[in-house]
């Protein structure tokens, strides 16, 4: 009798779990709210645990750097030299650009504002590519904002709690970012598939992206501002083009959430986190 009861209770729980999976499809908004609440509740603990992890990571990192100190120094010196020249060019171009804009009465995009947040969890697992950061609604984070680290886009905000939020990385199965290729100005969709290198989709026949070419956000769909660097074309074969994200996604300590003043683009709503799993 007891064994029967036990078997029944297990069966019940299995069914409940399957029911929960169904419910994500039926009422994603409710589930999203629940996720945000729970993440909020655990954010302080996760933030606390993340601190020693950060310390360990930086010790490992500095050990790794020590071995390559000399070569690194050499490289940086050369880089610096080259970048100084670029800086001159950039300044000249900026001045020229400003004067030309003045001539055209060009209306610039609204200025972007940034929210910087610490990464407190990298829940990972084999199926999702997300980060949890310590900034939320009260810090001005909104769903759909672009997330950047260093110099490139890493993903977008898909869930916002009171003081924590979740970022869907560009490599996640559900990530789609409208992009444009640097040289051909060809539009495409950068589509994650849980591998390290997302794919470029919807490139017309005949357009052959070159390896090493950079990929920028195109600004279509109103989700991201145009012209943010996302990645570099890594390889193309059999019509499949892979892009290496410009930022090393496994080493992100801080992210910048970009609010560029376009209130909730269309795509922000289309990207309900029911589809986020």
């Amino acid at each position: 009798m007891r064994a029967l009861l036990q078997r029944f209770s297990f069966l019940l729980m299995v069914l409940a779990a399957i029911g929960l999976m169904m419910m994500t499809r039926v009422d994603p908004v409710f589930i999203d709210a629940a996720r945000a609440r729970v993440t909020d509740a655990f954010a302080p603990i996760l933030g606390f645990i993340a601190r020693p992890a950060g310390a360990v990571a930086s010790v490992l990192e500095s050990g790794r750097q020590l071995t390559a100190l000399y070569a690194e120094n050499q490289r940086l010196r050369e880089d610096n030299e080259r970048l100084r020249q670029w800086q001159q060019t950039a300044l000249r171009l900026e001045a020229e650009n400003n004067s030309l804009r003045g001539l055209l009465a060009y209306k610039p995009d609204p200025a972007a504002s940034y929210i910087t947040a610490r990464v407190i969890a990298d829940p990972g697992g084999a199926f999702v590519r997300t980060l949890v950061v310590m900034a939320g609604q009260r810090d001005g984070v909104r769903r759909g904002q672009a997330a950047m680290a260093g110099q490139g886009v890493i993903g977008r905000v898909v869930q916002v709690g009171e003081w924590s939020s979740r970022i869907l990385l560009v490599t996640d199965l559900n990530a789609r970012i409208p992009v444009v290729l640097e040289t051909t100005r060809q539009r495409a969709m950068l589509s994650g598939d849980n591998s390290d290198q997302p794919r470029l989709m919807y490139i017309p026949r005949g357009v052959e992206p070159t390896v090493g070419e950079r990929v920028f956000t195109s600004g279509h769909g109103g989700l991201f501002p145009a012209g943010l660097p996302v990645g570099i074309v890594a390889a193309t074969h059999d019509g499949e083009t892979r892009v290496t994200p410009i930022v090393d996604l496994s080493r992100i300590e801080y992210v910048q959430l970009v609010d560029f003043g376009i209130p909730g683009g269309l795509a922000a709503e289309a990207a309900q986190p029911g589809a986020m799993q």
Binding site: I49, A50, P123, R129, Q277
Partner: protein, 169 residues
């Protein structure tokens, strides 16, 4: 007077060790370690904790607790709600039916059992996720995760058994 309040508190604290270590294992598993490619194959510490306690103290880590921890993990990790819960309940069930083979035998049996559970858990997750997204996910990460979990199992298991011996016997 039978037992004092302090004694009872002490006992309650000790009895909550399996549950609290499992939750702690889940949270530690989410630590951003910033190792390249680590988070995709991070060993499922929660599964290890559930496996260990389901074998040694199923009276203190009840099946519904495994279910609850699974739901909590899904909410926190952003994975499909119910997926981890399903995996943990199934793992618990499997362990409970095979418990007498693992208990009392050598550590090798415990390890072997976990290997079976880890592979099974990976398979269930993979099938569930592929069905949910209607998309055949590349199984590479799942396989790597299961292998890493099997290799690393002795370390967490040793920690659990230390806690087990010092606090619960």
């Amino acid at each position: 007077m039978a037992v004092g309040i302090w004694q009872r508190l002490d006992q309650a604290g000790r009895n909550s060790v399996p549950f609290s270590t499992t939750v702690a294992a889940m949270l530690v598993g989410m630590m951003p370690l910033q190792l390249p490619d680590y988070s995709f194959v991070a060993p499922p510490l929660t599964l290890m904790a559930i496996y260990y306690w389901a074998i040694y103290r199923p009276d203190l880590l009840k099946p519904y607790m495994a279910f609850g921890i699974g739901v909590l993990q899904d909410l926190l990790a952003g994975s499909p709600l119910g997926m981890s819960a399903l995996v943990y309940v199934l793992a618990y069930w499997l362990v409970l039916t095979q418990r007498r083979y693992f208990l009392g035998n050598s550590f090798w049996f415990l390890w072997l059992g976990f290997a079976l559970v880890a592979v099974g858990a990976g398979a269930v997750q993979w099938v569930a996720y592929s069905l949910m997204t209607a998309h055949l996910v590349a199984p590479g990460n799942v396989v790597a995760q299961a292998l890493l979990a099997i290799v690393l199992f002795p370390l967490p298991a040793w920690c659990f058994s230390k806690l087990h011996r010092s606090l619960l016997s």
